[in-house]
Symmetry: C2
Subunit: 685 residues, 2 copies
C-alpha cells in the first residue's frame, strides 16, 4: 500500500470529529462505513464519547492502538493544525482534511493551509484536501466521505472499473451520482479540494497503477503539472479530463507575439492532445466518454461504419463523424455487393448502411449486415443506431451486436434513440454485453472519437537528448542571435554590422544592391514602430538611412532583402507545463486570426510537419492562390531544429523568430528577425 | 378545422388497411385509438372483415356514411394509388400515407409517388407522407400512427404545450419518447416522411396557430422553403430545428467566388439566425431547448447571473456563457454589498455567486441572494447550479427559485448535477414550478442562449420595396456593368474603353499616369489567369500592353489604378431560400479561410454593418496592424445598395463584385471588378 492508495486500501480509518448527532457531518462517514460494510477497523475519534454508533471511540487519534492507515479530519479549521499534529504523532501516513476555511476563503485561510501542510510534511504525513468531501473505494468499502450521495437509499454502488478524481467535491460526487444513475460503474471516487499537498493528478496516477481500473476521469481546476501528465499518459490507461476555467486563461485577443498567443489554456489543450488524453467540456461528455472506456475493444483507426434502422439517424451520424474528426469508412465493393444481397431495396448499402425497419420482421438482417462490416478492413469502429425499438426487438439486436463485437474485435457503440420504458432491459443487456450505449448518434460518435484519441498509436516521446549548448545568452542582440542561429545551421539573411556610411554602401553592394537596414539597440523591441528598420535600401539611399539609424544610438545591421516566400512566425517560451513551441503563418493569420499551433517540447518525429498541416491557412504553404508550393519540409525542419537548440537554454526565456520566410519548395527557410527576451515577470508563475 | 389540422382535430378517422392480426402494423393504430380513448369515430377499412377489434369495418372508405376528416393509409405501395382515389371519391380532405416504397427506394418509387400526389391534388386531397409513421395529438387522442412507442405500457403521454414535427418517423417518435421520459410534454407529434405534398414546415406553421402550443420543434432533412420559414417565424412562437445533412451540403472547400462560398447549409444557418429560429445539432440539444420553451418567462437581454452552491459548477457555467455568446452580468456594486451581508466569507459575491453549501443549514441564504439578483437590472437570466443535494434540501431550493422567478419575471434555469435517486421529487417539483432543469451547467446555458435567440427583438423585415429596375441584363460586359453600377451611385474606377494604342496612352494620362488594363472578352471569367489584366501600366508601356490585350479578341478597358484600401468581396446569388448576399474580406480571408458572412435579402437596417462586424477578420477593417481604419460605413452602405439594386433582377443570376476596395474612413469604397453570370445549372435546383 502506498501512502495515497490508502484512499482505497486502508485497513483502518480514524474519523477525527466523528459524531453521533443526527444530521452532523461527522456522523455521515460513520454511517456510511457501517452501512456499506467497510472491512477494516473503524476508529471514531471524539474526546467526549466513549463510543459512536456502537463503535468504541478514542479521545485522540494518538490513543488508538495499532496502525492507522488513513485519518479523515472533520473538525473546524482552527482545530485542524492540532489534528494534523496528532496524526503525525500517531505515525499515520495519510490524512483527508475535509474541513473548509482554508485557501478558498482568502489570505488568512491560505496562511493556515500553508501552516498545516508544512507541519504535515515535516511529520511525514501526506494530506488530501483541505476543503474536500473525501474519498470512496468500492472494493474495500472505504467510505471516507460525508457526501450526501451515500445517504440516499438504493445507491447503485457496485464493483467498477472507472476511477474518478475531482478537485470539486460537490461536482465530483454529483457527477458520480449521475454516472451511477446512468449505469456506469465508478469504483473509486476521490475529491481533492484545494490540492494543497497531494494533487488530483497525483491521485489519478496512483489509480492508474490499480490493475482493475480500466478508465480514469478527472475534474480539474488548477493547471496540472506536465511531468504528472506525462506519467499518467504513460500508464496507457485511457484518461479523460474536464479542466474548467477556459475563459479565465485570458489572453484571448490574438497578438503578433508568439508568447502572447500561447495562453495557458491553449498550451494545455495542445499538451493533452500530444499525450493522448481526452479533454471534454461538460460532465455529460465526461460520462459519455467514460462509458466507452469501460468497454475493452480499441479501434485500430478512425474509420467508422454506421449501421442503422432509420435513415435520419444515419444522417445525424454522418454529420457527427465530420464534426469529431472521424472518417466515414468507404466500404469495399465486395462489402457493398454482399450488403445488396441482404438489405431491402429501400435501404442503403453505402455507409451509413440503412438496414431499414424490416429488421423487425427479419432479425437475421442485422447479423448478416454486421458480419459484412466486421470483415471489411476499411472499418475500424461500428456505430449502430436505432430508434424506438421495443423490448424483444432490442433484445435480438443486442445479441447480434454482442456477437459481432466479440467476433470482429472492433469497438461497437450503440445509439438507441428511445425511452427506457420502451425496452426496460435494453440498457442492462447492452451493458452486460460490453456495448456502450448513448441516446443519440452524435453522442455515440463523440465517444467513438475519444476512443480513437486514446488508442491512436503515439510514437514514444523522444529521448530527452541534451541540447547542444546553453544558447546565446539572454542579452544577445539581433546580430549575435543570428550568428548563433547561423552557426547552428539555421539560415539567416546574409549581412553584417557596418561601420560608417561608406561601409554601409559597401555592405549594400555585397548583398546584391538592395538591402534591409536595422538599428541594433539593446532593449528596443518594437523596431518597426520605432523607425529602426528600413527595407529596400540602395547604395544611393544607404548613407542617409545609415545616418538616421545610427542616430538611434546603437549599431546598424545591413542584410540582404528577402522579399519572397510565405511568412511564418515561430517562438518558444516557458509555460507552466514546460517549454512550448508556437508556430503559425505570419501577418493577418497570427495577428488577426490567431491561426497558430502550440506543442510542448520536445517534438516527436513528424510533429513539426503535422503542426503546420493543421493550420487553417495550411493551404497557403501548399501553394494556394496561384503561388508555388512553399518549402514546408524545411519549415518543419526549422521547428525541430529550434526544439533541439533550445533544449538546454535557461528557463524563463522567450525566443521569437518573426518573421521567418518559407521560400519555394527546395529553397529552404530564412529567419529574417530573431529576438530573445526574458519572459515578462507577470507571466511567470 | 383546416385540412392539415385534422391531424389533431379529426372527428372521424378511417384506417385503410386496418387489421386484427396480432403484430400487424395495421392493427396498431386501431389499438392505440381504442386504448387512448379517441373521442371521434374510428372507421376501420378492410374488405374482408365486418369488424376490427369490435369496431364495425367498411370494405372501402367510399362506403363510410358521413364525413371522414382523416384517412390513414397503411396498404402496400402498389395499392396506394387506388386508396388515394377512394379517398378522393369519398371527399376526404387529408390522408396520411404511411406506406413505404416511394421516392426513398429509387426511380420507380419516385414515379409512383408523383402519380399518387398528382391524383390526390387533382382530387382536392392533401397528403402527409408517404413513408411516415403518422401523427398523434393528445387533446383529442388522435392516434393516427403505428409507432411502437404507444404500444409500451405506461407511456407518460399527457396534455402538453410542445409540438414536434419530424420528417423521419423513427427519429421523430424516438426523440418524442426521450422527451416524454425526461418529463417534457409534447402534445403533438407528426411525422411527414417524404414530404411529397404537405411538408414538415407546413405542419409546423399550422401548429403555430394552435393557441395551446408554446414551442415548436422540427427535425428536417430537406431544405425548407423561405416563405414558409418566414411565416413560421412571424408566428412569434419559439422554434428550434434540427436540420441534418450538414456534410452533404458539400462545397466545404473555400473558394474565391462568392457563389461557391454560399453553400445551402450556410445559407440556411444565416437565414435561421436572421429569423430568430434556433438551430441545434443533436436530439438532446433539441430536447434541452424545448424544455426552456415550455416555461413562460423570456429574457430581455443576454446577461446571466449564476448562483451556485459549488464553485466548480460556477466555473463550468462561466465557461459555457462565453461559449454560447451570452454575457456574465457585471453586478451593480449595491448588489455585491448586499450579497456580502448574506453570503459566508468563503463564498463569492462576484458573479458566479457562490452561496456555498452553507445553504443546507440556512436555506434563507438562497432566498435572500435571489432577491438581490432579481432586483439587479444588469441581470436578464438567472441560472442556479447545485450538486448532489438530497431530497428536502432540493425542496427548499425549488421553493426559493419558484418564488424568485415569479417575483422577478426573469427566466430562471436550473442545473442540478445529481442523480434522481438523491431527490426523487426534484424533477417533478421543478417542472411544477415552471423551472427548466438540466443535469449540467453547460446544458442549462445552451438552453438559456436559445431562449435569448428566440426572444431577441428583431426589427421588422423591411417592406419588400420593389427594386429600381431589372438590372443591366445577364449578358452585360464588365464596362457595361460598371456603368450601370456608377449610374446607381456605386463608385467604380474612372476609366473607359479605348480605341487603338494612341487612345490607350491618352486614357492612361486621363486617369493619372498609372492604369489598369483589362481585356473585355464576353464569357472570359478568369481574367487574371488568362493574362487579360495588367496592373500599373504607364504611358510608356501602354501601346505594348494594349496590343497584347487587344489580341485576345475583345475591347480594352483602361482604368485608374486603385491600390490602397482593404479588399472586400461581395456577391449576390439565388439560393433555394431566395437571394443571398455574401460578403467578406478578400484575398486569403475568402480564398483560404472562408471568412465570409451570408444573409438572405432583403437586409434589415443595420444588418450590413453587423455582418461585417462578425467577420473573423473584422479587425482588419477597424485598422489592425497599424493601418488607418477603413470606411466600414461605406462598405456597409454598399451592401445595402446592392440589396436594393438587385431586388428586381431576374432569378438565377449571380453577381460577383470582387475585389471591392474599402478606402480609408471617409473616402468610400470602389468596386474594382464586377461580373454578372447565370448561375451554373448544376447549382440550380
Amino acid at each position: 500500500m502506498s501512502d495515497i492508495s490508502a484512499l482505497w486500501e486502508a485497513e483502518s480509518i480514524a474519523v477525527i470529529g466523528a459524531s453521533e448527532r443526527p444530521g452532523a457531518l461527522g456522523r455521515k462517514p460513520m454511517d456510511y462505513l457501517l452501512r456499506y460494510g467497510y472491512k477494516g477497523r473503524i476508529l471514531p475519534i471524539n474526546p467526549r464519547s466513549p463510543e459512536i454508533l456502537g463503535v468504541p471511540a478514542y479521545p485522540n487519534v494518538k490513543d488508538v492502538p495499532g496502525r492507522v492507515d488513513l485519518a479523515l479530519i472533520m473538525v473546524s479549521a482552527d482545530r485542524v493544525p492540532g489534528a494534523v499534529d496528532d496524526c503525525v504523532a500517531a505515525g499515520i501516513p495519510l490524512a483527508i482534511i475535509a474541513s473548509s476555511g482554508f485557501a478558498e476563503t482568502g489570505e488568512a485561510g491560505a496562511r493556515l493551509q500553508e501552516e498545516v501542510v508544512t507541519r504535515a510534511r515535516a511529520g511525514g504525513l501526506r494530506v488530501i484536501g483541505p476543503n474536500c468531501i473525501g474519498a470512496v473505494g468500492y472494493d474495500n468499502r472505504v467510505m471516507a466521505t460525508f457526501s450526501p450521495l451515500f445517504g440516499a437509499l438504493n445507491v447503485p454502488f457496485e464493483p467498477g472499473t472507472l476511477a474518478f478524481v475531482s478537485q470539486s467535491g460537490a461536482l465530483g460526487f454529483g457527477a458520480a451520482s449521475l454516472a451511477l444513475e446512468r449505469g456506469l460503474r465508478p469504483g473509486w471516487v476521490v475529491s481533492t479540494g484545494n490540492d494543497a499537498d497531494v494533487t488530483a493528478l497525483e491521485v489519478l496516477r496512483e489509480l492508474a497503477k490499480v490493475p482493475a481500473v480500466a478508465g480514469l476521469l478527472g475534474y480539474l481546476e488548477d493547471t496540472p503539472d506536465i511531468e504528472g501528465l506525462r506519467e499518467l499518459a504513460a500508464s496507457d490507461k485511457p484518461v479523460a479530463l474536464l479542466k474548467s476555467g477556459r475563459t479565465e486563461a485570458g489572453g484571448r485577443a490574438a497578438a503578433s507575439h508568439t508568447g502572447a498567443l500561447a495562453t495557458d489554456d491553449r498550451v494545455l489543450d495542445a499538451a493533452l492532445r500530444q499525450l493522448g488524453i481526452v479533454r471534454v467540456d461538460d460532465i455529460d461528455e465526461l460520462i459519455d466518454v467514460a462509458r466507452a472506456f469501460e468497454s475493452v475493444r480499441r479501434p485500430a483507426g478512425n474509420r467508422v461504419a454506421v449501421v442503422t434502422t432509420s435513415g435520419g439517424s444515419g444522417i445525424l451520424a454522418a454529420d457527427a463523424i465530420e464534426r469529431y474528426d472521424l472518417e466515414l469508412s468507404v466500404l469495399r465493393p465486395a462489402s457493398k455487393e454482399a450488403l445488396a444481397e441482404i438489405i431491402p431495396a429501400f435501404g442503403a448499402i453505402d455507409n451509413p448502411v440503412d438496414i431499414t425497419a424490416t429488421v423487425l420482421s427479419d432479425p437475421s438482417l442485422f447479423d448478416r449486415s454486421l458480419d459484412v462490416l466486421i470483415a471489411d478492413d476499411t472499418v475500424d469502429i461500428i456505430v449502430a443506431c436505432f430508434c424506438v425499438m421495443a423490448g424483444p426487438d432490442v433484445e435480438k439486436a443486442v445479441t447480434s451486436l454482442a456477437k459481432a463485437a466479440e467476433k470482429g474485435g472492433k469497438p461497437v457503440l450503440v445509439a438507441r434513440t428511445g425511452a427506457d420504458f420502451l425496452a426496460p432491459d435494453a440498457s442492462r443487456d447492452l451493458r452486460a454485453a460490453g456495448l456502450p450505449e448513448y441516446p443519440t448518434p452524435p453522442r455515440a460518435l463523440r465517444a467513438a472519437a475519444a476512443l480513437w484519441e486514446v488508442s491512436r498509436p503515439r510514437a514514444a516521446t523522444p529521448p530527452a537528448a541534451p541540447g547542444t549548448d546553453a544558447g546565446p545568452g539572454l542579452g544577445a542582440t539581433e546580430p549575435e542571435l543570428k550568428q548563433y542561429l547561423a552557426g547552428a545551421g539555421v539560415t539567416v539573411p546574409r549581412g553584417r554590422l557596418v561601420h560608417g556610411a561608406d561601409d554601409a554602401v559597401r555592405a549594400v553592394r555585397e548583398v546584391g544592391g538592395r538591402a534591409v537596414f536595422k538599428a541594433v539597440v539593446p532593449g528596443l523591441l518594437h523596431k518597426t514602430e520605432a523607425g529602426a528598420v528600413e527595407i529596400g535600401v540602395t547604395p544611393q539611399t544607404a548613407p542617409e538611412v545609415h545616418r538616421r539609424l545610427a542616430a538611434l544610438g546603437g549599431g546598424v545591421l545591413v542584410e540582404e532583402l528577402v522579399d519572397d516566400g510565405v511568412e511564418l512566425i515561430v517562438g518558444v517560451r516557458s509555460s507552466d507545463l514546460g517549454p512550448v513551441l508556437t508556430a503559425g503563418l505570419g501577418g493577418v493569420f497570427a495577428e488577426v486570426l490567431d491561426d497558430v499551433g502550440h506543442r510542448l517540447l520536445p517534438l516527436r518525429p513528424g510533429e513539426g510537419a503535422e503542426m503546420l498541416s493543421r493550420l487553417r491557412g495550411a493551404r497557403i504553404l501548399a501553394g494556394a492562390r496561384g503561388r508555388a508550393a512553399a518549402d514546408t519540409e524545411a519549415a518543419a525542419g526549422l521547428l525541430h531544429r529550434i526544439d533541439e537548440l533550445t533544449r538546454n537554454w535557461p528557463a524563463g526565456f522567450e525566443l521569437d523568430l518573426n518573421p521567418v520566410r518559407v521560400l519555394e519548395r527546395g529553397r529552404g527557410v530564412v529567419v529574417l528577425d530573431a529576438a530573445l527576451t526574458r519572459r515578462a515577470p507577470r507571466e511567470v508563475r
